[in-house]
């Protein structure tokens, strides 16, 4: 188990390093330099380049960049002087996190229930209804769901506010819009994984023991069927996160995604890159946590990973001695 966790952490660290290096190289590939737009002569430009350390060799710049990053310094905005990336993230990320967590919780709650329900009623009308909801949900990009929900409930029916992030009713539309895709994915996955579990022998044993239907579902079926869902939580976090980019813009939530999109449109490179680095590290960390969590939940991982499986099969006696 320790080996597994250490390996995951090592991979995550290398991933972050590679990602950061790619980001660093791409900045250098950007057409022009940050001072092209300003009316300066060559001498002043050279001085500014020297001031920002951009005249040094690439490898030296890379080390400075990594050093700044390790100090948690993500740079300053090009467009709005005096605004640092760190401040922007500190101010806006809580809104995004609150939106994201709400929608993941909603998606998990509804998705798991719908998936279980569909699998229990496999082949019946309710199953088809659940599958239909799931397949339609997967097929609608969140920016379309977002604008359509806003159009229907805020503009036409006028029952919910169209934007902002203040009172509870403002939060309904963005959270629902953001969770619909994830919700559908979870429903689909839960259904198919549940269908597999239902046919297992131990379920028949449980039924033969005379357990109640609820107890079988709760103690035997859900606990086994939920494992594949855990592995998808990493990619799902990424999906929710990219969803916040557009939904925050649509619903005027003052979150990080909105600023990110605005920075892309403003061509505020340093801002985009600083935030991208943050998002990248955030997602890699999320994946790492999910991986480790999976190792904790599923005992089979310990055996399958770390190259131990093969050896143990070949020399059962030796393995026994070690233990």
């Amino acid at each position: 188990m320790k080996k597994y966790v250490l390996k995951r952490i090592a991979i995550a660290v290398v991933t972050i390093l590679v990602l950061v290096t790619i980001i660093f190289l791409l900045v250098r590939l950007l057409p022009g330099d940050p001072f092209t737009s300003e009316k300066t002569n060559e001498a002043i430009k050279a001085k500014m380049m020297a001031y920002y350390g951009m005249d040094k060799p690439l490898i030296e710049q890379w080390f400075t960049y990594i050093k700044n990053l390790l100090h948690g310094d993500l740079g300053v905005s090009l467009k709005y002087p005096g605004r640092t990336v760190n401040d922007t993230i500190a101010q806006t990320f809580p809104y995004s996190a609150s939106l994201g967590i709400r929608s993941i919780v909603l998606a998990l709650a509804v998705g798991l229930v719908l998936g279980t329900f569909a699998a229990q009623n496999a082949g019946k009308v309710m199953d088809y209804v659940c599958v239909l909801i799931a397949i339609v949900g997967v097929s609608m990009p969140d920016f379309i769901i977002g604008t359509l929900l806003q159009l229907i409930f805020a503009v036409k029916l006028r029952v919910l506010p169209a934007g902002q992030w203040t009172s509870w009713d403002c939060k309904i539309l963005p959270v629902v819009a953001l969770s619909l895709y994830t919700l559908s994915l979870i429903t689909r996955l839960m259904r198919s994984s549940m269908m597999e579990v239902i046919n297992q022998d131990y379920i028949m044993t449980a039924r033969a023991k005379g357990l109640s239907k609820f107890e079988i579902i709760w103690r035997h079926e859900i606990r086994n069927a939920i494992l594949p869902i855990v592995t998808t939580m990493g990619p799902l976090t990424a999906a929710v996160l990219t969803g916040t980019f557009v939904l925050e813009k649509i619903y005027a939530v003052p979150g990080m995604g909105k600023f990110y999109v605005q920075s892309i449109n403003d061509l505020d490179y340093t801002m985009v890159l600083g935030m991208t680095t943050f998002y990248g590290i955030f997602l890699v960390t999320a994946n790492l946590i999910v991986d480790i969590l999976y190792g904790v939940i599923d005992p089979r991982i310990k055996l399958a990973d770390g190259g131990g499986g093969k050896k143990r099969k070949a020399k059962p006696a030796a393995a026994g001695k070690e233990a």
């Binding site: 991933t15 397949i135 339609v136 997967v138 604008t147 991208t276």
Partner: protein
């Protein structure tokens, strides 16, 4: 009826049985027939290849057929609709701004007075093209990398898998956004942006399958006959997992179309005057409160295409997977 092959003698009721005449038996009915030695070898039903079998199963699945039909209609319209329209997709017309759908302009016009019917199908060309090409390239790269890693194993496999482990953690959208910031012109960088880390999924899939097949007899037979590694991978292993690959591709295309729409929606996808469904949706959001049809049309196309592909993919998965028989 009642051919009892394999018992040595064949018996048959010779009388013609029809619904209105009651059954009548005579001694003639029980006459012993001559033994036909070909009976044993007679094939009653035509034998079906894997693909024919899959096609039969797919045809029986109305949902998948509906998906396929929608897709074919969209592809045909994307190819032919712009050719037979009186309007051009990029000519602006200040007199005809935001015209609601009517007989002249079936889908109305946009803020610049451009006909939305033509723009929708030009958008379909771009969106579908990007979706298919991205997934095709991803699958080809995935087959090569995954095949090599799985087949050769050992150090090669370990090196490739470590690289894949690292790249897998990098979110596609973030890399795509970065690449688009650097190269913002044309469709090629857009495809590159989506391929950059997109091939990893299929590489992992192919590797897993190749690992399983590596020790099977037909691979050993091919190796004994002197086939080279790449030949065994391309000629023997890839065809064996083609069903899985096709299903995987069908499920990946909606994701690619979605990514394109998403990037276009952020303003770093397809650049005007070219259009895709994502661009149409993006331009419509500026005015959708006043002219909702401009948003609903591209939204409808994106959703139905993704829906059709998902439905087809579900059907294909069932049809192409021999293990799925009897389920669903």
């Amino acid at each position: 009826m009642a051919e009892m092959t394999g018992t040595g003698a064949s018996w048959q009721i010779n009388d013609v049985i029809s619904a209105d005449t009651p059954l009548q038996f005579s001694k003639e009915s029980y006459k012993k027939l001559e033994k036909d030695k070909d009976d044993l070898n007679r094939v009653v039903r035509p034998s079906l290849t894997y693909w024919q079998d899959a096609w039969v199963k797919l045809r029986k699945n109305p949902v998948a057929v509906a998906g396929l039909v929608i897709l074919i209609i969209y592809i045909l319209l994307a190819i032919f609709a712009p050719m037979f329209s009186a309007y051009d997709y990029k000519t602006q017309n200040a007199d005809l701004m935001n015209v609601a759908p009517n007989a002249e302009h079936i889908f109305g016009t946009d803020q610049a007075g451009r006909d939305l019917w033509v723009r929708s199908w030009m958008g379909a060309r771009v969106s579908l093209f990007i979706g298919f090409v991205v997934v095709l390239i991803n699958t080809i790269i995935g087959c090569c990398v995954g095949g090599v890693a799985g087949y050769f194993g050992g150090k090669v496999d370990m090196t490739i898998m470590r690289i894949i482990d690292v790249l897998y953690g990098i979110p596609t959208i973030i890399i795509a956004i970065l690449i688009r910031l650097v190269w913002n012109e044309g469709i090629f960088p857009l495809i590159l942006a989506m391929v950059a880390v997109g091939w990893i999924g299929s590489a992992r899939l192919v590797r897993g399958q190749v690992l399983q097949m590596k020790n099977m007899e037909y691979v050993m037979a091919a190796r004994t006959l002197g086939a080279s590694g790449p030949r065994i991978i391309m000629k023997h292993m890839i065809p064996n997992i083609s069903g899985l690959l096709i299903t995987n591709m069908t499920m990946a295309i909606p994701q690619a179309i979605f990514n394109e729409a998403f990037l276009s929606y952020l303003g770093i996808g397809v650049q005007p005057p070219n259009c895709s469904w994502g661009v149409l949706a993006q331009t419509a959001t500026q005015v959708y409160r006043a002219y909702p049809y401009q948003l609903i049309i591209p939204a409808f196309f994106i959703c139905t295409t993704m829906l059709a592909l998902n439905m087809l993919g579900d059907g294909l998965r069932d049809a192409l997977d021999p293990k799925m028989r009897g389920k669903y």
